[in-house]
Symmetry: C2
């Protein structure tokens, strides 16, 4: 679905229209804002009817996540390819960094990397899109839990651990993305190191007490 060259002329044309819609939409969204951009504007800019836009994308939101979708699929593939010796959380974590190494190429086939970065920040700062983003992530989480359960040879409906681990992991990843979106450094390095920091704190943050240094009250029982 990403790079697979379509066969016929018709299919190629379709792909071009779709890509154009995504590019133009992201461009308009990031420059003048999501809400202040109408579907008609996007359609007009690509010279198709509004009706056609909705034949490619079920909603105005969907076009904003076209690139994101590719990346998530990519991540799932990478995770599936992680060596079996890695523990669940270890695999989830390593897959993130491994996936990012190849993100550039995958994205750049459709839109400039910089545009994608800005569009991610736009998603994080637009309530309606943030909502859609979160809903989408529940679907992704379910898939990841399934993958982890498979890796470990467990039944996802019996053993809560896959869902719990993925939920915790995803929660942290989302917090990371949110913070990155609010910051001023929209580079891959920035979110990479932020992710590293946050994931490193996952274990310690769940420990009983954080007061191991200069804090006042004594640790509880």
């Amino acid at each position: 679905m990403t790079t697979a060259e379509p066969t016929g002329l018709r299919a190629r044309k379709k792909q071009r229209t779709r890509d154009a819609l995504v590019r133009v939409a992201l461009e308009l969204f990031t420059t003048q804002g999501y809400e202040r951009t109408t579907v008609d504007e996007i359609a007009d800019a690509v010279e198709v009817s509004q009706r056609t836009f909705f034949r490619y994308f079920a909603s105005k939101e969907e076009v904003a996540f076209a690139v994101q979708e590719i990346l998530e699929a990519h991540y799932a593939v990478v995770l599936r390819g992680r060596p079996a010796e890695e523990g669940p959380l270890e695999a989830l974590r390593n897959a993130v960094f491994a996936a990012w190494d190849a993100i550039g190429e995958a994205v750049e086939e459709i839109v400039p990397l910089d545009l994608y970065m800005r569009s991610f920040q736009m998603i994080e700062s637009t309530p309606a899109l943030l909502a859609a983003h979160m809903r989408r992530s529940t679907v992704t989480e379910e898939a990841l839990a399934g993958l982890i359960a498979e890796r470990e040879g467990l039944d996802v409906n019996t053993d809560p651990r896959p869902r719990v681990a993925v939920a915790a992991f995803s929660g942290v990843m989302r917090a990371t993305g949110r913070l990155w979106g609010q910051g001023e450094d929209p580079s891959i390095e920035a979110i990479r190191s932020l992710t590293e920091t946050f994931l490193d704190h996952l274990g310690p943050a769940l420990a009983g007490s954080w007061r191991t240094d200069e804090r006042r009250s004594p640790p509880g029982p």
Copy 2:
């Protein structure tokens, strides 16, 4: 905002209108579905104009979360009251169970408890509402992270642990709610025990390897 008796007649009338809108909306949503219920229907049933509905609620979604909002505020209060000796995650967890003990009364002042239960399940099973629910939870998470940081005397922008802990905790809580919404037992006891189970697994699920019993492959390094 919950129980505080309004002073004048005007304020009391307003409160009654608002409550009526919530009650009718949830009733209609749960019986015929969220999407198949129009704002006009709700307004007509309460005998106000559609315009008035939108003066009480900024959106059709908002009315669906009116009760939820009360509970979240309640939870925040309970959390703030947890003893300082409790560790962060301990406090988050205990506050959940403590808050539930008082939920019944708080809810019942507006809608029957049973109706609230069904409306929660509706939220979890309606994409548009699930999205709104998730977006709302990001706001709640931010507040909780602030509370935790305060408890521990930390700066939420410097130390990642408050956000990480809350993110992991919230991720698990959301997974719990999701599962409960899909199940067939809409009782408080059901979600209570489910929560207990899931939170109990938070620690173990993040450990390096889960293969401590009858699994096949040997543990990694």
